[in-house]
């Protein structure tokens, strides 16, 4: 039971985490008092970039959601660069060069972040494997319990049963 007791919370947590990451984030909405880009296509791209950048002051909000001064400045920079013709990745790289990768809400997939990206999957497989091995072990253990009794055991069992029926 120990293995199961350990594995169950881990698996449940992972299932919950996977379920939560599947929930779409609320649509990015820039602040009404800020002038959007004239081209709605570019503004939509800028909006998507806002949602992928961390507001460094409020830390767990994106700059699409934050009313902080710095977030407003960063939105202005993103709009400027999108209007200048930068690709989404170029815009992000511009800010990563200044603030580090921490500004990306979604870390990049690279050797340094391998554990972060694949860790949960590894845990899931390890826990699943652990559970499988645990249950596979249960069966042979049960089988050996029903192995034929030795002559001595047969004798003691009969004696016990006789006792019981007599009592």
């Amino acid at each position: 039971m120990a293995a199961l007791a350990l594995a169950l919370p881990v698996v449940l947590t992972l299932v919950l985490a996977l379920a939560l990451t599947g929930v779409p984030a609320p649509a990015a909405r820039a602040f009404a008092y800020e002038a959007p880009l004239a081209n709605p296509k570019l503004e939509a791209r800028a909006d998507a970039i806002f949602a992928s950048l961390r507001c460094l002051v409020c830390q767990n909000e994106s700059i699409a959601e934050s009313d902080a001064d710095l977030a407003a400045d960063l939105r202005r920079i993103v709009r400027e660069r999108v209007a200048k013709g930068d690709t989404d990745d170029q815009v992000r790289q511009y800010l990563v060069a200044r603030y580090g990768e921490w500004i990306l809400l979604k870390p990049r997939f690279e050797p340094r972040t391998l554990l972060l990206w694949l860790g949960p999957l590894f845990l899931l497989v390890a826990a699943g494997g652990g559970i499988a091995v645990y249950f596979r072990h249960l069966a042979p253990a049960g089988a050996s319990a029903t192995a034929p009794l030795s002559a001595e055991e047969e004798r003691r069992l009969r004696a016990l049963l006789d006792d019981e029926s007599a009592g």
Partner: protein, 177 residues
């Protein structure tokens, strides 16, 4: 085979140890992307009677501190006496970047509290500070002889930070060839 029963406990304790280490981390300490890099190119107009600040003023074999401040910033008031004391000692020059501030307000603020700076650049839009990777004031940078950023103090300079990190680093950078 009995040791297997201890495995969950060992894993649990391992996890607890990991989480305990995590508790000690300060989420405000964002690793700076600019450490070891040359200061960004900029040219800021002066505030008051002091000369302005540009990237060409940094480096040239001189170790300096660059302090990003604003007259509206409360923590800047807190660190100010330490900067004044540092100027009195004369160990290292302090340059200021006045972040998103009115030059007149900054001048009044410095007249009231004292002026630790030998140069101040007026970053009215805050764009130069963004190129430095500033995300809040105050922040203080140690610039080496080569004009590269050697250290960044996030938040107000404290007596401990000065004694244990900033000044030892300034001395080390100055002694370096």
């Amino acid at each position: 085979m009995r040791w297997k029963f201890a495995l969950p406990l060992v894993l649990f304790l391992g996890l607890m140890a990991l989480l305990l280490c995590g508790l000690g981390l300060d989420m405000r300490d964002i690793p700076s992307a600019k450490i070891g890099e040359p200061v960004p190119t900029f040219n800021l107009p002066p505030v008051g009677s002091l000369p302005g600040l540009a990237s060409k003023d940094l480096g040239h074999g001189q170790v300096v501190l660059v302090n990003v401040f604003a007259s509206w910033c409360v923590s800047c008031r807190q660190e100010h006496p330490l900067l004044l004391a540092l100027k009195q000692q004369g160990e290292v020059a302090i340059y200021g970047i006045d972040y998103k501030d009115e030059p007149a307000a900054a001048t009044a603020w410095l007249n009231e509290l004292g002026d630790p700076y030998s140069r101040i650049g007026d970053d009215h839009s805050g764009r130069v500070a963004i190129n430095w990777g500033v995300y809040g004031v105050p922040e203080t940078y140690v610039i080496g002889k080569d004009g590269k950023i050697a250290y960044k103090q996030i938040g107000p300079v404290t007596a401990e930070a000065l004694r244990d990190k900033i000044l030892p680093l300034v001395r080390k950078l100055r002694a370096a060839p």
